[in-house]
Symmetry: C2
Subunit: 158 residues, 2 copies
DNA sequence: ATAACTGCAAAACATTTGCATACAG
DNA sequence: CTGTATGCAAATGTTTTGCAGTTAT
């Protein structure tokens, strides 16, 4: 799930090019945030990312974290998710297949899956409604069957 | 898109039964909120619902709106959506087919669709991950082609 | 009666903004 | 140098909470 050092360099280069092309500055903070996000294999919210940077001794402000995440979204190096909560989660997007999410209501575990039929659905919907579809988000919510699942409800006798 | 008076009575009865069964009180406020939500064919956020009630001369507090929406979610008379924003939207759920959403990035218009292939995907995912899936949310984001679409981006010459 | 509910206002969160200072280009 | 970016703290927007007073049962 981790990227190779070469891939990480490529990601930094893509971000650098994006900033240059837009006449925006390449600051240490921006690259630190990019690195921290890519170091996380998981889905992470802005505040946790902010605190993780702080723990690692990288001094950045929350405002810069939000600002930079916005830039990373614009250059498609990061995707943002709204998993039914008000707080958004972010996930790295480079060298990562397009996928959807399966979430456990009880323990919060997140799994990823990919089903080609979704592409067909997207095409059908685009056709019917005359839309040009840019992206989609499919989230499935349920109960995982892991032994150690927290908040697991008592099994309903069936 | 509007429910018949008979259906609305049925909805109120379902809510009444739910409250009774849980030993919770049937207050005028709760039914006013239920009615206001069902009077809206659209997707509505908690604050707009609160203000709409106020306009109609129904005095309720924001806290009661949120509290009641929570109850309505629990008895499946309402569903909650997180359309990529921090603010949640609510939609009536009774006598309404299970459907998914197509949103215009430019003007915010919301369309609904239903595709049977999603059911197959859900079954496949449940099987593969050993999940018992309770619900899903599929949102597609794109550009509608309506003449009067606000914020429509300039057509890219192709 | 009494336990539950309401309204209010304060608190808690998540995110955005304004502005003085710092710094990349 | 110059205009962007940063950090901070205040502001905004959304949702939750605590509590005194109210009300359905």
């Amino acid at each position: 799930m981790s990227l190779t050092p070469t891939q990480l360099d490529e990601v930094r280069r893509l971000f650098a090019d994006f900033l240059k092309q837009r006449g925006q500055r390449q600051t240490a903070e921006r690259f630190a945030i990019l690195d921290a996000l890519y170091a996380t294999g998981d889905h992470i919210d802005a505040d946790t990312l902010y605190m993780r940077l702080k723990e690692d001794g990288v001094q950045v402000s929350r405002a810069t974290v939000y600002n930079t995440l916005e830039l990373l979204l614009e250059c498609d190096l990061v995707v943002k998710h709204q998993f039914g909560k008000t707080q958004a989660k972010y996930e790295r997007a480079y060298a990562y297949w397009q996928h959807d999410h399966l979430l456990c209501i009880d323990c919060g575990a997140i799994f990823e899956f990919c089903d080609p039929r979704l592409q067909s659905i997207q095409e059908t919907v685009a056709e019917i409604y005359g839309f040009e579809i840019a992206q989609h988000a499919l989230n499935m919510y349920g109960h995982c069957r892991r032994e150690n699942c927290a908040n697991r409800p008592a099994p309903t006798e069936a």
